[in-house]
Symmetry: D2
Subunit: 290 residues, 4 copies
Amino acid sequence: MDIGFIGLGEMGGAMVGNLLKAGHTVRVWNRTAAKAQALAAAGARIVGTPGEAFAGDAVLSMLADDAALREVIDAKLLDHAQPGLVHVNMATISVELAETLAHAHAGRGLHYVAAPVLGRPDAAQAAKLTIMAAGAAEAIDRVQPLFDVIGQKTWRVGAVPQQANVMKLAANFMLASAVESLGEAAALLDGYGVAMRDFLDVVTGGPFPGPVYAGYGGMIAQRRYEPALFKARLGLKDVRLALAAADAAATPMPLASVLRDSLLEAVAHGDGERDFAVLGKVAARRAGRG
Amino acid sequence: MDIGFIGLGEMGGAMVGNLLKAGHTVRVWNRTAAKAQALAAAGARIVGTPGEAFAGDAVLSMLADDAALREVIDAKLLDHAQPGLVHVNMATISVELAETLAHAHAGRGLHYVAAPVLGRPDAAQAAKLTIMAAGAAEAIDRVQPLFDVIGQKTWRVGAVPQQANVMKLAANFMLASAVESLGEAAALLDGYGVAMRDFLDVVTGGPFPGPVYAGYGGMIAQRRYEPALFKARLGLKDVRLALAAADAAATPMPLASVLRDSLLEAVAHGDGERDFAVLGKVAARRAGRG
Amino acid sequence: MDIGFIGLGEMGGAMVGNLLKAGHTVRVWNRTAAKAQALAAAGARIVGTPGEAFAGDAVLSMLADDAALREVIDAKLLDHAQPGLVHVNMATISVELAETLAHAHAGRGLHYVAAPVLGRPDAAQAAKLTIMAAGAAEAIDRVQPLFDVIGQKTWRVGAVPQQANVMKLAANFMLASAVESLGEAAALLDGYGVAMRDFLDVVTGGPFPGPVYAGYGGMIAQRRYEPALFKARLGLKDVRLALAAADAAATPMPLASVLRDSLLEAVAHGDGERDFAVLGKVAARRAGRG
Amino acid sequence: MDIGFIGLGEMGGAMVGNLLKAGHTVRVWNRTAAKAQALAAAGARIVGTPGEAFAGDAVLSMLADDAALREVIDAKLLDHAQPGLVHVNMATISVELAETLAHAHAGRGLHYVAAPVLGRPDAAQAAKLTIMAAGAAEAIDRVQPLFDVIGQKTWRVGAVPQQANVMKLAANFMLASAVESLGEAAALLDGYGVAMRDFLDVVTGGPFPGPVYAGYGGMIAQRRYEPALFKARLGLKDVRLALAAADAAATPMPLASVLRDSLLEAVAHGDGERDFAVLGKVAARRAGRG
């Protein structure tokens, strides 16, 4: 297929690599051109404006946050797009913006598919992302071959695009909850001289298998928060988005409120760029053992 | 070995069954005699007083809570015990009582081992419990053969008995945290018409494998809270014990505070005997969709 | 003075009445014209566009919220204003918007003063508002005669306009905190059959004098939430603004998080238009006595 | 009247002084005899055992906490008391212990009145305490003359003694809530360079008159937490008791949970003996400005 791709961060760059390998033609655009250059060697066609990328059979975008998206995918860009084009937004954005974008596309005869992913850059490179797609079924059908190239599994979660965003935010909320629970457990154990490492062995060998508890728990046990797999600042951003989505649906989430306060405390203490396992550091500080 | 066993609930009864199968002589006592009778057919020797059970090479106890324990394992019982006896307490009790018991035993030349377990009655029957043991190494060495019969793995977590209790409470705190996060996620998703069942498929197939998320999450998705795997009332009891242990170590645990409030709300609404997946019902009620 | 006034709700209308009584010439504009008509009899000069009101010696605005303000006080309006004009914004708005407005005015040679007030419509009518003003001292000096007419006291709280907004949000946060504490206290007392009325008599006669505890506490004691002095929906709006301001300054406010969750629960149960003393109803519901 | 008085701390000592001045005969007992000596000069009759004080027309007790009370007012003491004696317990104790004591007295034909007070030592010396009394009306009638001597007002809050304890705990919960709200407001204001002192002037001159906001707020504004009017450690004790009473009545109190966590953090950082205005320090620390 002939596709455009906007946003070449670690995630986007890895996806483009896999799309090229699979033989697709990919026109790429990125705010800072240097990142695009690196993909040229692999066959990507660099274009000078987002508008040139926003064309062809489909266009995928993977921008950092709401602000970046609002700046690039603006009314002018959409006005000039070819009716019938499928735009797949893979970024984790607010439910509010997802709704706005869905309307803006529909009003111009464009298809809007929300397809946020689970998985970090290494999973993106290995084409092992989990994709949660929502939007019109026929639009998703058309880009499914692309999803098959960049992910290991696509879940279709609804006909309304923002449903996929809500699902992504709920997943990241659960992730942050697990890390906060690890952090508080570590603080409790530390109060009695019990090694977090031992506790982790017990629970990851029992009720909590999988990489989340072992990975973040391991960082907390070692009190080592770098390199960051998931930065506290970005974890806070996603918790904020979850709370905003919940607020709009009149849904109290007290655990999410605790996460927000703890992540904010981490940022206030200069740990925003460290892994959000710093929630363990926050819990230890509260107990005077920070 | 010639051992005593006090407390024949679902967990205790299953353990005794496995100890008998392995050829040990087991004198059993239970407050309500009927439960002991059932084990007689399997070879257990029923005794009429806790004191008769509190003798031999070692004695194991598995009583319901602090109150039951204080009533049965009292000063008189300990005064009459043979110095050198190893008492293994496998119940989930408060750190405070564990400390009191450790002192009471030590003062009389008795060995006290705390050995709470992870695993429900079905795991107890299948001899697949995970045992967290703390106490003097030589005392644990003596009862290790018994642990090998009732559990699949023994973790030695420290020389001070209450360290094992803290570890157990930290594990149950994490369990409750996971269930609360599932409940709040379900409420958020419901606000946008996304099926919890779909979400569960995504996250249990990805970041959250294992029976905890699938099991409790499944109950929340179906809004079915019976039969109870873990009753809300007992979950609340354990969260209270975790908070009390944290308090004694001057360790704030805001997530545990949220759990306490949510579980208390469940109990207040008559759901104490239902599975603590009713945390999903509490989250839905808060959002006016209970 | 010759002044403009934008926004004629209960608060704005009462202020205009007092300004007219004091002999000022007031050009008024309101989205729905009917409210302006009522003031014409008292001498107000009705104008057809916000631009006509945004002129003279000074202009005061009292719009409902950020959205209303963004719509009316837009770039075009500011572009056409006479340099040197003092705009006094008396509404409770977000710190973020206050900052944006301050910049937008400064860039065009206009003076921007933030002057939110404490006091409800009855205090506005009686010219007994408390005014918290922030901005350039000389700009405030120019409008001080107007403040003297509508309020009983003006506090100058800083040279940066948004400082007044933060102060207003902090005051409303404290108000909501007091009401939540009354609600939870009532739920606790109710659990033991103690009359909230008796409790109120004790505490308002002692540590908590003043109208806040007596007023909201009285509504909670009677479980009567109408007529609303301060609607739950508006209380939630202000708590959200306080949390947003705190977030931007990396300041965790766990009590504010609790307020947000409780007010959201009130709104979810259809009580958004009732007085925010419905926090008492929320507390009672949590305890199964709602 | 011929009365006994047990517990001569700052509060108890001041009460005894006023009872003596009013012409009552007071037999006093205190664990550490030195404090009793000081009252001998004023006419108090020092006795050597609690039992000697627990006699006469009535006995008042003002012991520090549950533990002190359990130790002094034990079964043996009650067994030897004269049936018909009225025991007035003025200490802030747990609802659970109040209930236990009420039963223990009733079973022996003794009258038990709970009469906790609002007011600090200076109010006790000035005989300006507020007394909340609960118990049998005829028993309260008999000691009312004593209440009239030590307090300025007696509120009769119910026939069941623990009702007075619940009311006292609810009042202290509200006090702690006000201080936490002041602390969080100060942290928010500080994030924008607004002086807490200015804010206090505004709110104490408006919605929040009275000594609580001015007093604790003033300490927070000055970041000076000594001398302690109300120690953080004792504030935590009372919040714990409120939470325990709420728990027993299945009443969630999320604000109280926040208070507990914040006070625990204060204690963990070595501020337990400082005034509980240190909640302001906790809020500042969370924001990285501690």
